[in-house]
Symmetry: C2
Subunit: 332 residues, 2 copies
C-alpha cells in the first residue's frame, strides 16, 4: 500500500462543510474563512514513550491525538474547522491504522472538524496534528486578558489523568479502581462544548489544563500581569482521587497534567450570565479562586496559611500543608 492509498483508505471521509474548498489530495488544502473572523491555529505532537505508553490502545491514541489539539481551540473560544495529520510510523500496520483512524475520525465527526491534509512517513511512532478553527475577530479568549477581580473557574474535576499515569507507573497498587480510571488519561474530552457558553458569558481569558492547573494558571497570570488566590479546598477532585490520601490527591489535582479541562476567568458582573448559561446547558463548573493585583493579598478574609507558587497564593483554609511539588509538567 503506498502513501496515497493509505490516506484514501483510512483517513479521507466526505465533508459537507462548505468552507472547505479543497481537502486531501492537492499541494495544499483550501479553506474559506468566515467574514469578520480570525483563524486560530495550534499544533501538538504525541511521541511514543513520552506522551503515551507503547501498549496504548490504537483507537484511544487516535482519539487523544486530536483531543489535545481541539482542547487548544476550545481554550481560545475558536470553532473547530479543519486539521492536518502528520503520522510517522515504523511500518504500515493495517490493524493499527484501522483502529487509530477510527478513534481519530470518531472525535473529528463529533467535533465537526475535517481532516484536509497531512503527511505519512516512516519512522518511530509519533503523531503531530495541526488544528485550525475560527473565532469572531477580537473575541478570542486570550491568556493576557485576566482582570483584577475576575473569578477563576475550571470546567471539571482535576487529577484524573495524573492518577492514570501514576497507576500505569505501578503506584497505588494497594488500591482497586474500576477500568474507567484511565478514561481521563486516554480519552480526555476536549471542552469544545463550552465554547459558545463561555463566549456568551463574555469570559475574559481561558487556557486548557494540559500541564496542571497551577502551571497553566500561572501562564495566564504572567501574561495578564496579575496574581491570584486559589482556594485549595475548592479545587474539584476527580472522584477516583478520593481513594488516595488527601496530600496525594491534591498533588495530582493541582500539579498533574493532561486533564484538558479549561481554566478561565470572568468578571463579577458576568458571573450571573455564566451561571444561567451553564444551568440551561446542564454544565457544571467550579470556582477555584480570584484574580488579585500581583503585589499580594487584597482580601482580608483570605489571610490564611498559604504558599506561593509562581504568582499564585494557594490558600488552605484548614491549615493543612500544601504539597510542594506542584510545578506542572515540563517537557525537558
Amino acid at each position: 500500500m503506498d502513501e496515497f492509498e493509505l490516506i484514501k483508505t483510512y483517513f479521507v471521509t466526505p465533508s459537507n462543510n462548505k468552507q472547505i474548498i479543497l481537502g486531501v489530495g492537492d499541494d495544499c488544502a483550501l479553506l474559506e474563512p468566515s467574514i469578520n473572523s480570525s483563524m486560530a491555529i495550534s499544533t501538538d505532537t504525541l511521541v511514543e514513550g513520552v506522551h503515551f505508553f507503547n501498549d496504548v490502545d490504537s483507537f484511544t491514541l487516535g482519539y487523544k491525538a486530536l483531543a489535545v489539539n481541539l482542547s487548544d481551540l476550545a481554550a481560545m473560544g475558536a470553532k473547530p474547522l479543519v486539521f492536518t495529520l502528520a503520522l510517522t510510523m515504523p511500518k504500515v500496520d493495517t490493524a493499527f491504522l484501522e483502529d487509530f483512524s477510527k478513534g481519530l475520525l470518531t472525535l473529528a465527526q463529533e467535533s465537526n472538524i475535517s481532516l484536509v491534509g497531512g503527511d505519512t512517513t516512516r519512522g518511530p511512532l509519533s503523531i503531530t496534528i495541526t488544528v485550525i478553527g475560527e473565532v469572531v475577530s477580537g473575541k478570542a479568549f486570550r491568556r493576557s486578558n485576566a482582570k483584577v477581580g475576575d473569578y477563576i473557574f475550571v470546567t471539571g474535576p482535576l487529577g484524573g489523568a495524573a492518577l492514570g499515569v501514576g497507576l500505569r507507573l505501578g503506584k497505588h497498587n494497594n488500591l482497586t479502581f474500576s477500568k474507567e480510571v484511565f478514561k481521563s488519561l486516554d480519552m480526555p474530552y476536549p471542552r469544545i462544548d463550552m465554547i459558545d457558553i463561555l463566549a456568551r458569558s463574555k469570559v475574559n481569558c481561558a487556557i486548557d489544563i494540559s500541564d496542571g492547573v497551577i502551571a497553566d494558571l500561572n501562564h495566564i497570570l504572567s501574561l495578564s500581569h496579575v496574581g491570584a488566590v486559589v482556594y485549595l479546598d475548592d479545587i474539584p477532585l476527580n472522584h477516583n482521587l478520593l481513594a488516595l490520601d488527601s496530600s496525594d490527591a491534591k498533588k495530582y489535582a493541582l500539579g498533574g497534567g493532561e486533564d484538558y479541562e479549561l481554566c478561565f476567568t470572568v468578571s463579577a458582573e458576568n458571573c450571573e450570565q455564566l451561571r444561567k448559561e451553564c444551568k440551561s446547558a446542564g454544565k457544571e463548573i467550579f470556582c477555584i479562586g480570584k484574580i488579585i493585583p500581583e503585589q499580594g493579598l487584597t482580601n482580608p478574609q483570605i489571610a490564611m496559611p498559604y504558599k506561593n507558587f509562581g504568582k499564585i497564593q494557594l490558600v488552605a483554609p484548614n491549615g493543612k500543608d500544601i504539597p510542594s511539588e506542584l510545578k506542572g509538567y515540563m517537557h525537558f
Copy 2:
C-alpha cells in the same frame, strides 16, 4: 532550559505582519485573513534516517524543513503567511538548536512567513511543519485543472537532488563534483518567486516536484482526467548530471524526487503572457510537453517511439531507450 525558554530563545522573532494578531505564547495563534481570500494549508514531516542523513548540517536541515513546505504553497499559488513547527528531538542540544533555528528563520525571513506556534517534544529527531498561506478565492493552481492543449512547463533543471542522494549512498565515486553538488538536495529553493508570475500568466494548474516529475505530473493527469506527452530530450537536466551517462542522468531527472521545482500547465493563448512575465523577471522556465486527451496521441508529429508511464507518453525523439525505473519515490 524548559520548553517555553527554548521556544523564546531560538524561535520567536518579531513580525511586522499586521495579519498576525497573536503569535507564539497562547493556546492558539490568531491570523486575520485578507478579504476575498482562501487559506492554503499544508503539512510535511522530515524524519532522521528517512528524509535526511544523521550527519546532516543543522542549518541546512532547518532551511529544508521549511523549504519543502513553502514549495507546497508555491505550487498552489498561495502567498506564505504563517507556520507552526513541531520539533521532536532526543535532548536539548543548544548547538543544534542554534544552527537549526538559524537555517529555519533565515528562509522564513526571506519568504515573509512567520513562526506562530508549535510544539517541542522529546523523542527521535523529526520535524513537522504546517504552513498557511493565502490565495485570492478561486485562483489557486489546483491539480485538477489541466486542460487539453495546455503546455507543460517546469521551473528549473531537474535531478540535482536525486544525484545528491546517489552520491551520499556512495554511487558514482569514480566521478568528481564540486561541493555545490549537494545544494539541490540540502537547500532546495522553494519557488515562491514564481507565485505572482504564474498567477498573472493565468496558469491552469501546478504541482511541486517532490516525488519526481513523472510521478508528480501523473497526479495532475489523474485529477484532471487528461494525458500528456513529455519530450524526453526537453527535460532540463541539472548541470551536474552531465558528468553521468545519459541513461543515469535521465533516471535522476525524471524519477528522482526532492527537486522542489514547479511543474505547471498553461493554455496556448496565455503562453505569450507567461513568456513576457518570465523575461521581465529574469526567470527561465522549460516547456517539456503538452496535455492531450487521455485516450492517446492526438498530434501526428509526436508519433514516435514512446513508453507509457501512468498517463504519460514519454517521447524520445532520438529513439533511445527510456529508463524503466521512473515511478517516483514512494514513502512505503
